[in-house]
Symmetry: C2
Subunit: 254 residues, 2 copies
């Protein structure tokens, strides 16, 4: 098994930020500067076209670390951030831009490309979670959350579905096409975000993916507005969701 190699460390306002690599995969781990010996981990994923230190990632991580005392990790997805694109990546990105310029639906391309990315990313994310759990501040057996919207839901649903380590997950903003069947195997508490006036994802499609989760406890948050207009307060809601579900089962109270 590969191990996490820390490559840089910075600290501000009670949050320690450590860049790491796991083989070829670059990632970042945010941790509380002080606290108990061990704390729960939230594994995050970034959206399509962004990367591990995108403002949405650093903002959510800071809220989770300072608000809950959790560790938060995210890695660059294949073809994203500091990682090379394959010929297939370039082809799909070009197809997406062509559709966008022509005013044609982006959904079929995003669904197809994200499904392919998920096949490449899930084994990497599993290896990353394995390695993170080797760190003494995280360890095995403690609660683990998953937090990922857009492309990170496309990767996160198959990642979470077959891994009993997860305690609770926040998903959202995706089509059900490649995911609904897998979502039916997910039974942990889920909070799901959709945009009521999404210009890309039909309302019925978003509702169908939420409906597919087999979780006894699941909550849909639908906000007025277009695809990219998810309100900032949904990040705070996700933090409270993880506080409820990861703290209650924490090895040590944080």
């Amino acid at each position: 098994m590969q191990s996490i190699k820390f490559t840089a460390q910075a600290s501000a306002d009670g949050v320690i930020e450590r860049d790491f690599t796991l083989g070829e995969i670059p990632g970042v781990l945010w941790s509380p500067a002080s606290g108990p010996e061990r704390a729960p981990l939230v594994f995050m994923g970034h959206g399509g076209g962004t990367h591990k230190k995108w403002p949405a990632m650093t903002g959510r991580a800071r809220r989770l670390v300072t608000g809950c005392g959790f560790h938060v990790a995210v890695v660059d997805a294949p073809g994203h951030g500091d990682r090379p694109r394959t010929a297939y990546d370039e082809q799909e990105i070009a197809a997406l831009y062509r559709a966008r310029e022509a005013g044609e639906p982006e959904g079929p391309i995003v669904v197809r490309y994200n499904a392919q990315l998920a096949e490449r990313a899930v084994p990497e994310w599993r290896a990353t979670l394995d390695a993170l759990q080797e760190l003494p501040g995280i360890g095995t057996g403690g609660p683990v959350g998953f937090f990922g919207l857009n492309m990170a839901t496309a990767i996160g649903v198959p990642f979470v579905a077959d891994d009993p380590r997860f305690t609770a997950a926040v998903f959202g903003l995706h089509w059900p096409d490649a995911l609904a069947e897998t979502a039916r195997r997910i039974t942990i508490p889920v909070e799901y975000a959709m945009q009521w006036d999404d210009e890309h994802i039909p309302r019925a499609s978003a509702l169908a993916l939420f409906d597919a989760f087999a979780s006894k406890e699941k909550t849909l948050h639908a906000n007025s507005g277009r695809h990219k207009e998810l309100p900032r307060f949904e990040s705070d809601s996700a933090v409270r969701f993880f506080a409820r579900h990861l703290r209650a089962t924490a090895v040590q109270e944080v």
Copy 2:
């Protein structure tokens, strides 16, 4: 114009609870024991078959007063709490129990009865709001919230729709039949609660009522579970919703 007459006062944990009457209508006003000279008001309504001091009412009021420093008022709806039932009330309540025992749909009876109750209640609620705004701690021109689920949504939608004093509203758990047309006149921020597995309100009906609100800012919270299983954390969410919308426009910051 009739005035509020206070009939009893109690105080505990920073909350002053004052029973009042406005003519024949009994109500209760919860206020912060200390704070600024004026503070926003949240007007609440109770659900069908309950009353102004039902635990859900006192619990929500306490959260709003201690969490936000707001005033919170609720009155007994016609035929509820300390108020007499008419022959029509008795008839509809009997019809509801018969349907329940026979396993027949309750929806048509509840929709019809609540629409009639709304016709009786809305003028009373308007007079109560008028009178509450005569109190120096509340006053006119400040932000006003409305918070009511179930029957209180059936009364609250027509109450809020034609009254420019309201700043933000929390509704939920009702059929669109008698309400959707009126909801299309509501443009203030709305948070709407539904139960994903509601045995009385079909999913498409709940979504249709949420869709009807003309508000630029609206949020649907759909939770797994049956009609009466609304999670307790939705009360906390409503408190945060009012904190966002009433504080921002408060005459004085609270």
